[in-house]
Symmetry: C3
Subunit: 528 residues, 3 copies
C-alpha cells in the first residue's frame, strides 16, 4: 500500500500539473490581460473623452468673440475681440489661483467622478469634508470653508492634488466651463465697458462668484445635496450647466447691463428704441457655428466618461444638443419671419435662437428623449425673441442678447429637467445623483422643486452679489468709458489701435472717427 | 479497499481544490477582466471615434459658409451665410422627421456596423426586411417601403430604436453627412435664390431625395447589393461618399443652377463671360482650411470603428485624404499658373483644387495606396479647372464652383475606386462589402461596373427628380428673386439686414445700393 | 490492482475534466478577453489620441493664416492667405517625397514609440541602423545616410513601410509638425516675398532642412543620443518641439527676414521706425484662439500615447499649455499697458504674448509643475515684448513678430527644460529618454548642457544653411518683389486677384491702388 500511495502521489501530482497546463493556457500566455490593464483602458477612454470635450469648449471662446464682435460696431472691434481673448487668460490664472480650490477643493476621493477618472486615492483627500457628511441642510454652511481648502490647503494653484491625470483633466474641463460663464457678461456690457473694469470682472467671476455657486451644484455643495438633506431624493441636477454656466453668466450679464446703463443712442427720450446694427453678419454667423461645434464638447463631454452608462448619457446628450439647437434656430427664424420687426428671417434672431436652444438643452440634454429636445428647443427659440422685446421695454441695453440667450434660456433649461426628464436608469449613475432623474411628465414630482431652488439661488446670490460688485466698480469710476470715448469708439482710446485700421481714411483719424456716421453706426434718433 | 477509496476521495477533492487555487489566481483576483468589459471598451472606442468624426463633419458647415460667402459679393453676405447656417437647422429637423427612417429604417441588427457600435439586439429589429433577404435584383423594389419603416414604424423621429448609444451616434454621423450634401446647392444658386425656395430645397434634400438614394448605397439598398444580386461580388462601394454625398449634392446643385439661370451680368449677348469676383479671399481661404480639417472626420470617421481592421482603414483614409487634398491644390495652382486666365497662382482655383482632391478621394480613401491618392488628387485638380471652363461654355452659372468640385470630382472619385483599389483584405470587413475591394490596376474587373451603376443612378434619379422639383418651385414663383432685388443685393430685401451695415454710407441706403457699382460688383459688360 | 488502477485512471480523468470545468468558466465563457484583444485596445487608444492631436495641429494652419493676414495690410491679403494655405499642400507633397524618410527612415522597430503604436515588426526594419548602435558621438555621422533610407530604401513616398496604421498615423502627426515650422517664415517675409520664392522655401523646409535637424532630436539622431554618447544620461529632450518646430521655423524666419530686407517705409533714414498696422484685429485674434485650440493637439498629442504613464504626460502637457499660454498673454498685456509704446493693453502684443507662452512651454510641457508653467509663460510674455524692440533696433523687419515669438521663445523653452524639469519618473518612458528628465532646480546638472547643444545646433545649422539658401534665391531674383509691386500691394501682380475686390472703388483700380494711402497703410514717414 505504501508503494501504491507513493505511486499515486506522483500520479496525482502529474494530474495537478496536467490540469494546470490545460486549464491556464489562455491566461498563461504571458498571463492574459489583468484587471489593472483593463482598468487603465477604461480610465484612458473616460479621460480622453472628457479632455477632448474640454478642448472643444475652449474653442467656444472663438465663437463668443465673433458673435459679440460681429453684432457690435466696427469702432469697437479691437476692444470686443480683446475682451473675449483675454477673459480666458485672466480667468485661467484666477481659477488656478483660487477658483478650483473654492469649487472642488472640498471634494474627496469618495466623489464618484474621481474614481471614474482614475484619480489615485489620496490625491483629493486633503479636505476634512466628505460627501457622506451631509446629514441635513442645516448642517451645511452656505460657504464651506473646508471646501475652500483653507483648512486642507487643497486645490490652490493645483497644489496638494498630486500630478494625477484625473484631477488635472478635471481641472481643465472645469476651467473652460468657468471661462464660458465669464465671457457672457462681456456681451451685455460691450461697446462701453472700461477695459480695467473688464479685467476686474474676469477676476471676480473666475476667482470667486462662479466657483462659489458652481460648487453648490457640482462640487458636493448644498444644492447638490438638497434632496438628500430634506429626504426627497435628488438635489438640483444640471447635466452641463444651463444653470451653473449660463444662468450664472447671464445673471452677471444682467446685473452688469443694468448698472452700466444703455449705450448712448439706444433709447430715445420719447420712449422708443433704436436698432444699432452690428458690423459683420459673416463673423457673427461663423461664431455661431463655432459655438454649436464647441457645444458638442460642452454637453456630451459632461458625462465625464465614455464607458458603460456614461457613454449612453454622452451620446444622448449629443443628439439632443443637435436637435435642440436646430429647433431653436428654426423657431426663432420662423417667429421673426412671421412676427418680427422686419417680417424677414432675421439673421440676428436666428443666431440667438440657435444659441437659445443650445443653452436650454444644456441642463436636460442627457435626461430627455429627442422629441423633448425638439420641444425644448422650439420653446427656447420663442423665449429668446420675447425676452429681447422685454429687455427693451425695461430699457436694459444688451447689445448681443446675452441675457435673453443665457439668463432666460438657462432658467428654462434648469426647469425643463424637472418637466421632461424621462427617468432613464442610466442617469442615476451620474455626478452625485441618487435616483433616476424624473420630471413631471414621467411622474416625478420633487425634481422640479430642486430645480427651482437652483434657479432661485443663482438669481439671489449671483445677481445680487454681482449687482453690488458692479456698483462698487461704478463708484470707483472703473466701469464705463466717457461719452466721448463711446461715440468715437473704444478702440483707439482704450486699446490704442483700431480694429480695421485701413478701413479709415486719414482724414477720419484727424477729424475724429465720429465725424463719419456711416462708419460708426447708422444715424439714430434723438440720442439722450 | 473502501477505506482506501474514501481516503483517496478526500485526496482527490484536495487535488481539485489545490489545482483550482493554483490555476485561477490571475483571474481570481477580483475575477479578472470579463469579455463583457472588454467588449464595452471596444464599443466605446468605436463610437468615440465615429462621434468625434461627426463633430468635425458638423464643423464643415462653417467651411461651406465661408467659402460660399467669400467667393460671392458683399451685397449678398447675410443671405449666403444664413443659408449655410439654417440648412443645418432645417435639415436636422427634416432628417429626424423622415430622412433617417427612409435611409436606414430597414436596416436591422444583422447590419455589420450595428454590432460594431454595440447596438442592443432588437433596437433595429422593427423592419421586416433583412440584408439577407435580397435574393435577386428583380426582387428589390427601387423604393423599399419596408425600409421606410412604414410597416415597422422604425426610425421616424428616432422612434422605435431605443435610446441606444450605437443607433444615436450613427444617426448623428449620418445626419451631418446629409447636411453636407444639402449645403452644396446653396453655392450653385447663390446670389439669386429666394430664401423660401432655399427652405423648401433643404426639406427636399433632408427628408426625401438624399435618404432615398443614400439608402441604396449605404443602407442595404439595391446598389449596395448589386454585386450579390447578379453574382459578381461587391456592389457599389463608396467609403465616405464621393457619390452618396458629393455627387448627390452636386447633381442637385447642377439641376438648380440650370433651372434658376445665370446671374444678371454673368454672360454677355456676344457669348463672352464676365468674371464676378467675390468679396473676401480671407474668408474663402479660411473656409477651405476648415473644410480640410473637417474632412479628417468625414473620411477617416467613415471606418465606423477604430479597433482592428477598422483602425487600419481609418488611418489609411486619413493619410490619403491629406495627400489627395494637397495634390489637388498643387495641381490646380500649377494649372492656373501655367494655363489659367490670369497666368497666376489663382486663389479661387487653388481653393477649388484642394476641395476637388478631397471630394475625389472620399470614395476610395480607405482602398488605395498613398501614391494613388496623389495621382487621384492631381487629376482632380485638373478636372476642376476644366469643368469650370466647360460650365461657362454651357452658359451655366455656378458662382462658387460647386458643380466642378462636387459633381465632376464626385464622379471621378466613384470611378477611381474601380481603378485604384488595391485589394487590401481589411476592406472586406467594411459596410456590406463581400470581398476585398479591387480595382482594374489590381486585376479587379467587376468593381468598376458597380461604380458606373452608382454614378449613373445618381445622375438619373437625383438630377432628374431635382430638375423636376426646381421646375415646380420656379412655376410657383418660389425659386428666383426679381432682377431689382438681385441688382440691389439680396440682403436687405430677403433678410432684412445688410451683411456689413457699416460699410455703407447713409447715402447708399437712400439712393439704393446699386448706385455705387464699386460696392456691389465691378462693372460688368452688357447685361442681358 | 489492475482493475483499481484502471478504475482510478477514469476517476483521475474525471477529476481533470471537472477541475477544468470549474477552473475555467470565467475565461471559458467564449474564452475571456485575450492579451491580443486588450493590446489592440491599447494601440487603438494611443493612435486615436495621436491622430486626433494631428488633426488639431493641422487646424493651426488656419490660425497662422489669420494671424499673419490680420496683422498685415489689406493690399496683401490674397498673397498672405495663399502662402499659408499652399504651404500645407506643397509641404505635404515634399514631406511625403523625401522628408519623412530623411527624418525617420532610419528608425527601426526598436524605437519605443513604434511598439506603442502597434507597428507590426518589420514595417520599419529596413534600415541598418538601430538606436542601440550608438556607441559614441564620434561614431554618429551628422547626416545618417542609413537613416535617409538611401541604403534601405525606407520611407520615401511612404514606401517600404507597409500599410501599417501605426506608421501612417505617425507620418500624419509628424507631417503637420513640419508644416508648422514651414509656415513660420511666411510671417517674417510677408508683404514682399515673391510667390515662387515661397514655393521653393516650402520645398526647402519640407524636403530637407526640417527633416535633417528634426531627425537629430526626435528621429534617433546625435542630439537625442548625445547624453548616452558622452555618458551623461539623457540627450536633448524636447517634448513637442520648442526647438524642433519653433526654433527651426524661427531660425529660417530670421534668416529670411535678414536676407529679404525690411518693407519699404518701415525704417526711416534718421534711424526711427514706423508702425505699419495690420488690417484686421478680428481676424488676428480669431487666428490666435485657433492656434491656442490647435496647441492642445500639438503638446498633449506629443505623448504619442494615452495609456499608463503616457496619459499622465499628456494631461500634464494640456494643463501646462493652458497655463503658460494664459500667463504669456497676461504678462505681455500688462507689460504693454505699463511700458509699451501706447501704454494700453495692446492687442498685437497680447496676441504675441499668448503665442510666446505657448511656444515656450512646448518643450517642457510634460516635464514641469503648473507653477513652473506659469513662470515660464510670464517670462515668455516679457521676452516677446523685449525681442520685438530688439529686432527693430537691429533694423530687421518682421511684420507679424514671427522671430520674437518662435525663435526667441523657442530658445527659452528649450532651455527651460534644463531648469524646471521636475524629475517625474513617468518622463523616463518617453521617446528615447534614458532617465527622468531633471532640471537645475531639482538637482539635475547635465540636462541643461544637452539643451544648449540642441539650441546651438539649430542656430548654427538651420540659420546658417537657410541664410545661404535665401542668398541663393536672392541672387536668382526669386526672393523679393519689385518696389512698385510692393507699394501697390502684392495681390494683383502676384496672385491675379485682390483680397477684398469690392472694397476698392473702380477708380482705385484705374489709378493704381497706391494712389489712396488710406487704403494701403497710414502715411508713413520719409520712406527710404
Amino acid at each position: 500500500m505504501k508503494q501504491i500511495k507513493k505511486r499515486w502521489g506522483w500520479v496525482l501530482l502529474l494530474v495537478v500539473i496536467l490540469t494546470l497546463a490545460i486549464a491556464t493556457p489562455a491566461l498563461a500566455d504571458d498571463g492574459g490581460p489583468t484587471t489593472q490593464e483593463v482598468g487603465d483602458l477604461t480610465v484612458g477612454i473616460n479621460i480622453l473623452w472628457m479632455i477632448v470635450g474640454g478642448f472643444l469648449v475652449f474653442f467656444m471662446q472663438a465663437g463668443f468673440a465673433l458673435v459679440e464682435t460681429g453684432f457690435t460696431r466696427n469702432k469697437n472691434v479691437a476692444h470686443t475681440m480683446m475682451m473675449n481673448m483675454m477673459v480666458f487668460c485672466i480667468g485661467a490664472v484666477g481659477y488656478w489661483l483660487t477658483g478650483f480650490a473654492f469649487q472642488f477643493g472640498g471634494v474627496n476621493a469618495a466623489y464618484p467622478e474621481v474614481a471614474r477618472l482614475g484619480v489615485v486615492a489620496g490625491a483629493w483627500a486633503h479636505s476634512p469634508i466628505t460627501l457622506g457628511d451631509w446629514t441635513g441642510l442645516l448642517a451645511t454652511p452656505l460657504i464651506r470653508f473646508g471646501q475652500f481648502g483653507i483648512l486642507g490647503g487643497s486645490g490652490f494653484l493645483l497644489g496638494g492634488l498630486g500630478a494625477n491625470a484625473g484631477v488635472l483633466a478635471f481641472f481643465l474641463f472645469q476651467m473652460v466651463f468657468m471661462d464660458t460663464a465669464a465671457t457672457i457678461p462681456t456681451g451685455s456690457m460691450a461697446e462701453r465697458l472700461k477695459f480695467i473694469g473688464f479685467v476686474l470682472m474676469s477676476l471676480w467671476v473666475s476667482m470667486f462668484i462662479y466657483p462659489l455657486v458652481g460648487g453648490w451644484i457640482w462640487g458636493g455643495g448644498w444644492l447638490q445635496n438638497l434632496g438628500r438633506s430634506v429626504g426627497l431624493g435628488n438635489g438640483a441636477v444640471d447635466f452641463a450647466g444651463s444653470g451653473v454656466v449660463h444662468m450664472i453668466g447671464g445673471a452677471i450679464a444682467l446685473a452688469g447691463a443694468i448698472v452700466i446703463g444703455p449705450r448712448t443712442g439706444k433709447f430715445n427720450k420719447d420712449g422708443s428704441t433704436n436698432t444699432i446694427p452690428g458690423h459683420s453678419i459673416s463673423l457673427g454667423v461663423l461664431g455661431t457655428i463655432i459655438l454649436f461645434f464647441g457645444w458638442f464638447g460642452f454637453n456630451p463631454g459632461s458625462s465625464l466618461g465614455f464607458i458603460g452608462a456614461f457613454r449612453n448619457l454622452a451620446v444622448i446628450a449629443a443628439i439632443n444638443t443637435l436637435m435642440a439647437g436646430a429647433a431653436g434656430g428654426v423657431a426663432a427664424m420662423t417667429y421673426a419671419w412671421l412676427f418680427g420687426p422686419t417680417k424677414k428671417p432675421d439673421p440676428g434672431l436666428s443666431v440667438n435662437g440657435i444659441l437659445a436652444g443650445l443653452v436650454a438643452i444644456t441642463a436636460p440634454c442627457a435626461f430627455v428623449d429627442s422629441w423633448a429636445a425638439v420641444v425644448i428647443g422650439l420653446i427656447a427659440g420663442v423665449i429668446v425673441c420675447g425676452a429681447t422685446v422685454l429687455l427693451e421695454q425695461w430699457k436694459i441695453d444688451d447689445p448681443v442678447g446675452a441675457v435673453p440667450v443665457h439668463f432666460f434660456n438657462g432658467l428654462w433649461g434648469v426647469l425643463a429637467v424637472g418637466i421632461f426628464a424621462n427617468g432613464n436608469p442610466d442617469t442615476a449613475a451620474w455626478n452625485g445623483v441618487e435616483s433616476a432623474v424624473t420630471g413631471l411628465l414621467y411622474g416625478g414630482t420633487t425634481q422640479i422643486l430642486a430645480q427651482f431652488a437652483e434657479a432661485g439661488s443663482i438669481i439671489v446670490f449671483v445677481f445680487g452679489l454681482s449687482y453690488v460688485f458692479f456698483k462698487a466698480l461704478a463708484a470707483l469710476k472703473l466701469l464705463r468709458v466717457s461719452r466721448d470715448v463711446e461715440l468715437q469708439g473704444l478702440d483707439l482710446p482704450e486699446m490704442g489701435t483700431l480694429g480695421y485700421p485701413t478701413d479709415w481714411e486719414p482724414s477720419d483719424l484727424e477729424e475724429g472717427i465720429k465725424a463719419r456716421p456711416g462708419k460708426t453706426a447708422p444715424a439714430f434718433g434723438s440720442a439722450d
